[in-house]
Amino acid sequence: MAEIQTEQNETLFIQHFREESRPLGYYLREMAGYTALKKAFGMSSDEIIGEMKKSNLRGRGGAGFPTGMKWGFIPKQSAKPKYLVCNADESEPGTFKDRDIMRYTPHVLIEGMVIGGFAIGAHSGYIYIRGEYVREAKLLNDAIDEAYAKGYLGKNILGSGFDFDLTVHRGAGAYICGEETALLNSLEGKRGEPRVKPPFPAISGAFAGPTIVNNVETLAAVPFIINKGGDWFAKLGRLEKSGGTRLIGVSGHVKKPGLYELPSGGITLRQLIYDHCGGVLGDKKLKAVIPGGSSAPVLTADEIDVVYDIDPMMKIGSMLGSAAVMVVSEEMCVVRLLIRITKFYAHESCGQCTPCREGTRWMEDVLERIEHGSGREQDLNLLLDIADNINGKTLCALGDAAAGPVMSFVKKFRADFEAHIRSGKCPNA
């Protein structure tokens, strides 16, 4: 496996994740706050989008779509108002990176949004924040008030003639509202269900206007890109086509769980777990790694010598997702773990499309049966069949999110499942 040279890594966010960083004064003093905005006002929309493209910033929400390209999809002329929406519905189990950005450095997000709004020609922005982030919603609103008071938001920002209003909208606790079109429905006051695509939000999004939906971490990177240039940002990453740093949330059975900021593609999963996080808790054997939020197909202990970034992870059939790594030691029962994951997606399915509504619950029921001792030999193939009938056949990605874990767990840990079925209970219990 490729050994990666770890130089002194530059980090953008993590050194500021302290209570003292929150006030506007700190942001202006220590993080060159709102200087990027001034610079952006001297640039054209195309120049800003050009820098974004050069930066190789890829969406930090999970899909990894190039941000500059996405911004470029917004039509220059539009009869309907355009919108910039920040997806702060951070709900993928295991993910807790956006929370710290909002909690400690809210102004970097606000500045990024004003620049984004200026670049795409939007005068309204929304931060759709998950309902459970009560404290973060308040902190954001406080920061927005500060920004309005100092003229970084509102009418004629910094004398530029550009107006931009920013509103925090709290979700009501549905995971599906992290899917961008369900988010837009929810924002409009409708039932939180994904929409048929096309049309994509860039053409018809919030209130049917051209809309960009970006993740918190994505938008928070914008001021750095504008200030130091797209090329500089691109070079922070260690792989081609993947710029910047990445906030990685590590949880589960490791000695040092928590949030890490590392260059994109700068390490392997093994280095992350053993070098940065101090190895498996209690020095147990590693059983599995869920590498990108609970929907990412699971990896076995033999599969972790992979560079931890979007493309390499996709190449081995899993995904980087929201960069939330869950480490599982040999003491954890993988059947129980899969039930817990499957239950989550069944519970969070919006219920509009057939395979997801019917299939996620069916998988949960079969898994419960196996766990409670009434599993049958044919159940494992049935599970794989149901998952296959969901995978790629649903209206939105939630179906794939539910199917991926089932397919990967059953295929990679089939012996554990068979042992459950044979003995009618967990062999380790």
């Binding site: 549905a174 599906i176 039932r191 048929v196 069944a346 519970h347 969070e348 399915s349 919006c350 219920g351 509009q352 499309c353 057939t354 395979p355 997801c356 509504r357 019917e358 299939g359 996620t360 619950r361 069916w362 029921d365 079969v366 049966r369 049935l382 069949d385 009938n389 790629g392 056949k393 649903t394 209206l395």
Partner: protein, 467 residues
Amino acid sequence: MPKCIIDGREVEFTPGQNLVEVAKKVGIQIPFFCYHPGLTVVAQCRMCAVEIEKMPKLQTACSTPAADGMVVKTRSEKVIQAQKATMEFLLINHPLDCPVCDKAGECDLQDFSFKYGDAYSRYTEEKRTYLDLDMGPVIKKNMNRCIHCTRCIRFGTEVAGIHEMVAVRRGNSTEITTVDGRPLETDYAGNYADLCPTGSLTLKDFRFKKRVWFLKRTSTICEGCARGCNMTIHQDNNVIYRCTPRENMEVNKYWLCDEGRFNFRYVNEESRVTVPMARGEVDWDAALAAARNALSGKKVAVLVGSDLTQEEAQLLLQFVPRHLGEAPLYHFGTPGIRSPQDDMPADRILKRKSKTANLHGLEKLGLKGFEALPSGTQAVLLVRGGRARLPELKGVVTVGVGVFRADEAQGFAAVLPGASFAEKDGTIVNFEGREQHLRRAINPPGQSKLLSEILMVWANSKGGTHV
């Protein structure tokens, strides 16, 4: 015209048309549940998945516009497998009791299960069940049969203009219901039953009255108002069981209001006079004689229901001068609606203020709306199809020809029982001047006759002379 290829056949299409519609043009059926041409596309049921060249995933045909040169397969191995999977998913929680379900025989779920599904299920868990809900007088709901296609919800908001059907809870527990479980309010509720692809929403008026495969269908026009919605009468053994809307994009699209849908009830009603009357049941000769006597030597006015056809009105225009002298003719039908100018839209959907179908036609024939009888009028010949509202007539002798309830005809000197809209052929003219045709679905009941026959007998029978 751009072309695409579906199952190896070249098909021309209009830009914007989706693959379901384009395939239909060459007789290729792509199955679907949630799609409906009159509602927004949601691509939820996933039944219409097709394979498109150069696309890795299956695409839903309902939400995919045809593109020039697109190559589509609707029966590839991948598609067939996906259809089987969707049918399996839809049926795991659906009761498998078609024999006792009233939708059987015209159920999309049943038909597509037969055509695209597997004969057995791998599902061994407990089926999901819901509590019943009373939705008011029109629709019976059985949520256990629901497949969550949401056509009803979309019909309410997009067509009927009322957000009364909603989805509550989510995922596997999603329930399609009314807001707070209230009864339905729309007066277009019957369409919910037409739209429902399963037996989840059925018409209270129709359910368990007749197995659908016994019904004979006749394409006709609704006589409920001046729009003239296209509809189908379903009858068996000379009894009408229901009426359903028939697509006509220029008149009523796919819909029918409840008033029009249930208007047929009077046709089968027991109190309808179906034998000739002259202060009691008599034979035709006696009734005709009584009618002639009643009008003879008197100053007569003729009131023509605007529920009659053009042909019937024309017969009267010839008959009256010959047999009733100078008697003036007026049309009647809806209180307060005397001329086409009065006939405004009655809602934002289909209904017109004229509650009869041929007001505009009779005006074209030169008849004027009835306001009051000319002074000195002693007798009235009242001719109607069955729906026109009878004007209040005092102090005159009345002879009725057509369809009347016994209580309506109580004071009449004679009743010559006629044919309702379902029992005759003829032309009616709607508010836009569109000529449409009523078709005979059943025979006039009892001794009732068509107006043409009645007038012919009247004219030819002995004593049928000038006043």
